[in-house]
Subunit: 230 residues, 2 copies
DNA sequence: TATGCTATTATGTATGCACATAATAATTTC
DNA sequence: GAAATTATTATGTGCATACATAATAGCATA
């Protein structure tokens, strides 16, 4: 026993949960009991239990005590890929081409997602991302120029919209939707594949506080996979 | 200000990061300074900063101090859906049909994923999941009978393999891979759709400590979307 | 019996303190 | 002057304590 700590206690508790010693939904000993059992302060046990609670493995209630979670919600975490990194870690050369960049009226679904007033305009961009010289992903994006007016005066040749936004509003919130679609002609054309191929799609909307910044759809080339951990 | 706490401090610090007051990669004041500024103990600031570090917003180093993360890794979290719940929360009736349940030699990729010795066998199952009476998802699964021999003597009529496993080894680890494929004949047949339709696929392997339990591929009906949050 | 107060219990949170640890800066030693 | 040693600094971790808070159990009163 080199180190004693909240981590090792967390580990020990996890083991007892995984082994089934404490059944699903059953109440586990109180903090004070565990503290004496492991020979440490209650604070330390508290930290360990809090960690397990954060991970969704146990549920804690005042007075009610701590219980093993009834329905173990399997939460997966993954990193939203940054295209350039993704390509470069694969050992290829990243580049991109801005196919279109116009200010125009967004279609209703986009308008409502970005909270743009009726009749208002937004910047519309289409980008093809390349790994070496073959297309890797096709991006369709709308940017709310109310929220980030600087986008209009930025030369988007060298730096991609994506990277520009990451620099400008790095800590925004957002939601992400994954799905699969068949490539229509536009997508097939951009990715240089057959119409009808199965395409992995990431749909993403980003905001900062009350300002809706951008919504984007990313179509990956066939065969793309997204890895994640439980 | 009703409550002072690590949470509100975390919030305040988050605001200063988001607003750009502290630039990307820049060093932020030390714990002691922040403690005096917010009028609380260093421990409390520590908790707030630890939380931000867990979320990947800041990087902390001994002596080096705390810095705003240079490349804000956008981590998304989502809950692995449980089919029954998914169907039932949509207001439909869940049911499933076990199409196949045989003990046989798995193909090499499955064999290596489940760490089954050469020539060894595993249980192979195919299940169709229904929402009301129309197919919703098609599941292909291999179970390592070495790890969970009980599966062989369980009547898998009423309870699905999925639910049985959740009950038996609820807190296992695993990895998940998402992708898109075109429906081949087998899948199209099971889901009662056209061959070639774009299908969202979840591939999942589950283990507990050293025991590899099961690997599963889940093919969702067209139009399925997976939601997630940043 | 119904209602309202009080005690108990288990977790939640904050504090002050002490010491550990890692990285760097300053100083000493050869 | 280079290398080894020591000091300093900022975070990491643990402990004892105190009080807050939520939910329940028990009791008491009308």
């Amino acid at each position: 026993m080199t180190v004693i700590s909240h981590q090792s206690i967390r580990q020990a508790l996890l083991g007892r949960i995984q082994s089934g010693e404490w059944a699903l939904g059953s109440r586990i000993p109180g903090e004070t009991d565990l503290a004496t059992e492991y020979g440490c302060a209650r604070t330390t046990v508290n930290r360990a239990l809090q960690a397990l609670a954060d991970e969704g493995l146990v549920v804690r209630k005042r007075k009610g005590g701590t219980r093993v979670c009834q329905t173990p919600v399997r939460q997966a975490k993954f990193e939203i890929p940054i295209l350039r990194e993704q390509v470069e870690t694969a050992g290829s050369n990243y580049s991109h081409r801005l196919v279109c960049n116009k200010l125009k009226r967004p279609p209703p679904p986009v308008r409502s997602r970005l909270h743009i007033p009726a009749g208002g305009k937004a910047a519309h961009m289409q980008t093809i991302h390349y790994a070496d010289s073959s297309p890797f992903a096709y991006e369709e994006r709308w940017v709310n120029t109310q929220a980030v007016p600087e986008i209009l005066t930025t030369p988007l040749g060298e730096i991609s919209v994506n990277e520009w936004l990451v620099k400008m509003v790095p800590f925004s919130s957002g939601d992400v939707v994954f799905s699969a679609v068949s490539a229509d002609e536009k997508i097939a054309d951009a990715l240089e594949i057959e119409v009808g191929a199965a395409i992995f799609v990431i749909d993403r909307t980003t905001w900062l506080d009350d300002a809706f910044i951008t919504t984007m759809t990313l179509y990956y080339k066939e065969g793309y996979k997204l890895y994640s951990q439980l």
